[in-house]
Structure formats: C-alpha cells, structure tokens
Symmetry: C2
Subunit: 425 residues, 2 copies
C-alpha cells in the first residue's frame, strides 16, 4: 500500500461515524441499572465492548491482540519496521449507572483516527498502536486503571487476589470469569523500548473548559488519589428505648466523618485537593434501630502527593477523635494510592503546537481524575487531550459532550499523532 | 373442672420451661441474616412462630383462633360466662438481625401463665385471653403495631395497600402471601364490651431498670413516634473532576441532616424526646462518584405529642435550609405518627400493688418504644410490665435479659392478672 504525507488538519473526523460508535457502545449496558451506562470492569459486557473495537480495527487491516490483563491492542505498521510505536486509546468500562462518554470518547477517537489514517493512506514512520485498557474504573474493585497498571508493571499477579468487589469477588476471580489468566498478567507488561509516545483523548469530567469557552484542553498534570475505607463499630439499640446520651450511634459518627472529609477538602481546595465520601453503608439499616455499624469509602485527590497524603491522614485523625468522643470504634484501611503525575513537556508541547496548527487555542489544565495515560507515562512519555463536559458532570447518566467537540478532539488527536511521528526519533 | 382461689405468688414461673420456649422461637429465623433473629412481619416464619404458640395453647385446652390481621388469640374461660376478658400477650416478629427477647418474652410469659393457671386450676371469674399480635415491628413496612392497630380500629383495609417494604411489597400483598385476607381486617376489630383489661410484659429496651437495680418496671406512659423519610437530590459527578465549590453532594447533605436530627434530639432530651436516623441510602454509592441522591429515615420519639411534632418539624426545616445552601433538593415524606399514650391508673396501680404483694419494689417509668399495649389501650385499659435489658441493648443480636428476670416478670404477670380478676367488675 502506498502512503503519502498529509497536511495538518487533512484528517477531519466524521461526526456521524463517531455518533454511531458512541451509540453502539452505549447499548452495551446492564439492563436494570438505571438510565445510565453500567459496564463494569472485568464483566462480559466489558469484553463484548472490547470485541466491537477489535472487529472494527481488524476490518481496517490492523493486527489485533488481547493481552493477559484484558487490554486490547491494534497496530497499523509504520514505514520504519524498527521504530517504536506511537499509541493512543482509553477504556470502555464504566461506573455503575455512569455516562456514555467517559473513556469511550478516547476509544471511538482512536477507531476514527485509524479509519482516517487508512482511508487517506497517511504516511507514518512509527507503528500506530490503538489500545483499549481494561478495568479503568475503580468503582468495582477499589483500584483504578488496573489494565494500564499491569501494562506499566505497577500491578502484578500477586496484587489481584486481594482486591474484592462488594460481592466478595476478587480481581483475579473476575478476570478468570471472563476468560483471562490472572497468573499470566506479567506477560502483559510493556517494554519501554517498544514505545515512543502515547496520547489519550478524554472528556474533562470538570467544568474548566466550559467556563473558559475553550473546546480543547492539554493536560499538564494528573491528580493522584489516596483511597481508604473507614469502618465504624458502635452499639445497635432500639431507637425509642435508648436515651440520646447513652448512644454509640455509628450513623451519627459516619455523618460527622463525611462532613470532616468535606471540610478538609474545602480547606485544601486551593492546592487542588478534593475529598469525597461517595459510599456509606449503615448496618443494620432499620429506621427503629440505632446503627451499630457503618462503613465509609473516602477518595482524596491531589496535585501534590505530600498534601494529598496529609489531607487523607487528617481525615483519619479527626475521624478517630470524633469516634473516641462517641464511644464508637474506628478502623481506617488504605485501599489504594496513586501519586499525582506531571505529564512530560515533550508530548504536551506537541499537543499545544498541533492545536495552534489547527487554529485552536487550548487551555492547559490539570486533570482531577486519574487516567490510563498516567500509568502509561511510567513506560513512555504520555500526554492527554481534554474536550468539554457539559456542566462538568461525569460518572452520571447526565454526562454529556457536544458531538462537534468529540469530532474536533478526534481531529486534534489524529493530527497530534502524525506530528509526533514527524518529531520523534 | 374444679378451680380454687390461689394466694398471691402461688403461681411461680418455671425458668427451664421459659428457656425452652425462648430457644424454640429463637430457632425460627432467616438463616442468612447474621447472628441475630430475623423473623419479619407477615412472613412465613412469623406465621410458623404463631403456630407454635397456638399448638401450645391448644394443648392446655384453650380455644384458639387467628383473626384476619394474623393476630392469634387463645382463651381460657372464666367462671362468669358473661364477664369480659382480661388479656395478656405481645408479638413474635423481629427487626432484621434483632434479639431473642423483644416481644417474645411477653408471649412466652403468656404461655407460661396459661400453663400455671391450668396446672393449679386457679379460679378466675373473667375469661383469660392470651394474644400474639402480628407485625408489631415497623422495620419492614414503616408502620409499627399493625396487628394491634387493626384490633384497635386504628388501621383498616384502605391503609394496607399503600405501605410498602424495601422490595416494593405492600402490607396487603404480604398479608395475602401468608394466607390472610387484608380486605377482611375490619372483622379483626375488638369490641370494648368484650374486654376488661390488658397487661403486656416486655423487655425495657433501655437501661433505666439496670441503672436503678430494680428487676421490675411498671410503665406509666408510652412514647409516641413521628416517622418520616427525607429524600435528597444533588448532582452526581466525578470525585476527581469536580472542585469542592462546584458540588451538590447528596451524601454530605445527608450527613448534615443526620447531625441536625441528633442535635434536635439532644436539645429536647430533657423532655423525653429522642431523634434517630437508623437508615441512610446513598446513590449511586460509588467511591469515585459524588452522591447524586440520598434518602434518610428519621424516627422521632416523645412523651408529649406537641414537643414530638415540633422536633420532627424542626428537623425538616433545618434539613431544608442545609440543602438550600448546598443546592440539593430536599423532600420530606411523613411515614407514620403515633401520639404518646399515658397508661390508665386503674391497671398501673394494680400492677404496682401486685409487685408489693410479692415483696418487690417496681420502678415506675415511661416506655421509649411503642408497644401493642398502647394500641390495645384504645379499646380497654392497658398496663405494661418491664423487665431489664442488659446494657439497655435491643434490636440487636446482643439483646439479653437474665432468665431469672424473665421468670420473675412472668410470676408478676400471672399474679397481676389474677389480682385484676378479683378487682375488676
């Protein structure tokens, strides 16, 4: 096949093809979960979505394989058979009752980019590698970016049996359940010599682009996350028979901790720290019984590891003090920690320059959410493009991004990969 | 059969028989519910427990029947065939993962009293009626004392389809499911001309008796209860991508309301008011999603209806104000309301006098929990005897009462019924 160099912006993404792909993925959802998309990590629905991607890429002539972590990789060879790859991609799993853009936008942009490159027979020296990472969302197992962490060598076989979902199923068991071999995930580790650079397109999941009126963002740093579970043990008793001053009410202690976490987040917000309690379980959960037990899941995000860890420690300390006053036992269990990651200038500068090539002024901004690109950056220089999220809403059925922005982001992504191809050794 | 008058205290309850009955009822529990007893209102397990009671009473020669509400009544005729009945009894249903004494103690005491009366051929002019009320616990349907409310004419057929459990099953459907006919519950209404008095023995479900060192309590008033559900609608969003100041966090709003309810309860505690949030549901309940919705179940108990209603109104008002500040929608739905009930002196004085007959000094105290006796009091003068709860714990697997106290309470109950038999016209 003869290829030819293309001018910046010659590869223009097609709205309707992107829409059709987004619709197709949105249709792969648990039927009983609410109005949003539910396609959890390491479920058959997630595998089915990967298979849609694989079939599309095979149709374009790409060589497709799935690794032991469940990541799907599709490759279009470059003109230099010895050159390392330039990659792009994202994930196809979702939170429970989530949106139809988070992760998926980066995958459909990769699929459309591959189509544009092959249709235009665009010349590229490096192989282009299109990746769908497995199990990016931390909602099910309490650990985010499992597929990309395995690729980066940050998670190995020994880490998989210990992390369990709400039903007690471990990561290892869930992987086995969808036909993967958790004992072999070491084989899925990426070799940095095999990679030149990686770019992920993602929705912002925040309202900065929308508030600045910019349509494209270039990420300079990705927030880290310190996650923990706080378990409380009070004394269950009858809501009528127990005077207020004789209670050890685990629900009231949990409430106090939720507000303590919020106040720590508000105080540290100026440094990019945020604290969230998104899940609270109260036992026995009866209107006429003072709660004897409660569990809270806390997610602390930061742009500075020291501040992030200090905020988490402050929440645990003030929770312990509040519980001591109430006669409630309090145990904090660390679940996961990822440090904030500054993304390298070498890719970031190319992304900004590509925007300028296309007549766009991007906003350079940090990412509040963690992303696969952050893990990939352990192996090869990684960059990220953001497109706007309407009202900043994400992880919710109301998550929305204008289709024109999806198309524009895809056009920038395709041009960026080709520009990197020209610039990188 | 020849009967003879018996001296006060001649009917002495047997510890071992009481223990065997308590063990038998404790065995009738959902197997997967935790270490406690789970025998919810209008389930087959509750009906099975009623059948154990019925078989025991039939064996003693009592006439047994079940009414349309599922209440089981057993009668030993008195010497005066035209005299109204003196009654005793309690309930056999439980909260989820509850204790083995709440309600059950009053039923096994009734069974043992019937055995003592028949074994000693104790003379009594009034018929003695032993009652097990159905569905006393409000945990399943949000309404307490359904069986006794039907008997008292406080709940009718029209009230049953509207109250639903967490699975959406209505009271009417649950009744039909265990072979009862909710359309016919009007037939279960008691006629006051048919009744002379009623006494219920119950565990205290509080720590007053324990703290005073007394083994028997006589109740002078039963707390009322105002119950409501507060539903919150915030904005679900990504825990990393959403800055602290742009959130509408339903979990944080819920936490604030739990503490507001607690502070209202603490402030009003001097007047016997208590406020509890025993159940909190947060949606979607994911660690990485700011909660978009939450529901709280609030139970306000009081010894004065005006103060009880004012406390509930204050919780709703301050919840609305807190939610308005947070941009969270707040809707309060009343679930049920029962006023506090002072119990009549005519029965109370007899219970105190009976204790004195037996050389006991009772504590006269209010009941924090609502009870079937409170509903029965709408039909006929009702009294209550309390025995101690270890550490005041109830509605929990750790609920415990010394078997000697169960036996002593039963002895007082039997003597009280015979004393009432002599005193009442």
């Amino acid at each position: 096949m003869t290829t030819a160099p293309v001018a910046p912006g010659a590869l223009v993404a097609d709205r309707d093809r992107l829409r059709a792909l987004l619709d197709q993925f949105a249709g792969l959802s648990e039927p009983v979960s609410g109005p949003g998309v539910t396609r959890l990590a390491y479920t058959h629905l997630e595998r089915e979505a990967h298979a849609v991607f694989a079939a599309h890429m095979e149709e374009l002539g790409a060589a497709v394989r799935t690794d032991a972590a469940g990541n799907t990789l599709a490759e279009l060879p470059g003109t230099d058979r010895s050159a390392p790859a330039i990659g792009t991609g994202s994930h196809l799993d979702s939170v429970p009752d989530g949106g139809r853009f988070d992760g998926i936008v980066g995958v459909v942009a990769a699929m459309e980019t591959a189509r544009l490159v092959t249709e235009h027979a665009a010349a590229h020296r490096h192989p282009l590698r299109f990746v769908v990472f497995a199990a990016e969302e931390g909602a099910r197992f309490g650990q985010a970016c499992t597929g990309s962490r395995i690729a980066a060598g940050l998670t190995g076989p020994a880490d998989l049996p210990g992390k369990r979902d709400a039903d007690g199923v471990s990561l290892a068991e869930a992987m086995t359940g969808v036909g993967l071999d958790p004992a072999r995930v070491g084989d899925a580790r990426w070799d940095h010599a095999d990679w030149a650079a990686f770019v992920e397109l993602h929705i912002e999941q925040g309202a900065v682009l929308e508030s600045t009126g910019r349509r494209v963002g270039v990420v300079d740093a990705i927030s880290g996350s310190t996650r923990l579970r706080i378990d409380l043990e009070g004394r269950a008793s009858h809501s009528g028979g127990t005077p207020m001053h004789l209670r050890a009410d685990a629900a009231a202690a949990a409430a106090e901790i939720v507000l303590l976490a919020e106040s720590v987040g508000l105080r540290a917000a100026a440094w990019g720290t945020r604290a969230t309690v998104g899940r609270i379980d109260v036992a026995p959960g009866s209107m006429t019984t003072i709660a004897g037990g409660a569990s809270l899941w806390v997610d602390v995000r930061g742009l500075d590891l020291d501040r992030q860890q200090r905020a988490a420690a402050e929440i645990v300390e003030s929770a312990a003090a509040a519980c001591a006053r109430r006669g409630v036992r309090c145990t904090a269990t660390p679940l996961a920690e990822t440090p904030p990651v500054p993304l390298p200038a070498v890719v970031r500068d190319t992304l900004v320059a590509t925007c300028h090539d296309l007549g766009l002024e991007p906003t350079v901004l940090p990412s509040g959410a963690s992303h696969d690109a952050q893990q990939v950056n352990e192996v090869t220089p990684a960059g990220m493009l953001f497109i706007p999220s309407r009202d900043g809403i994400s992880h919710d059925p109301a998550e929305d991004t204008d289709l024109d922005d999806v198309a524009l982001g895809t056009t920038v992504l395709a041009a960026s990969l080709l520009r990197l191809d020209g610039e990188l050794p």
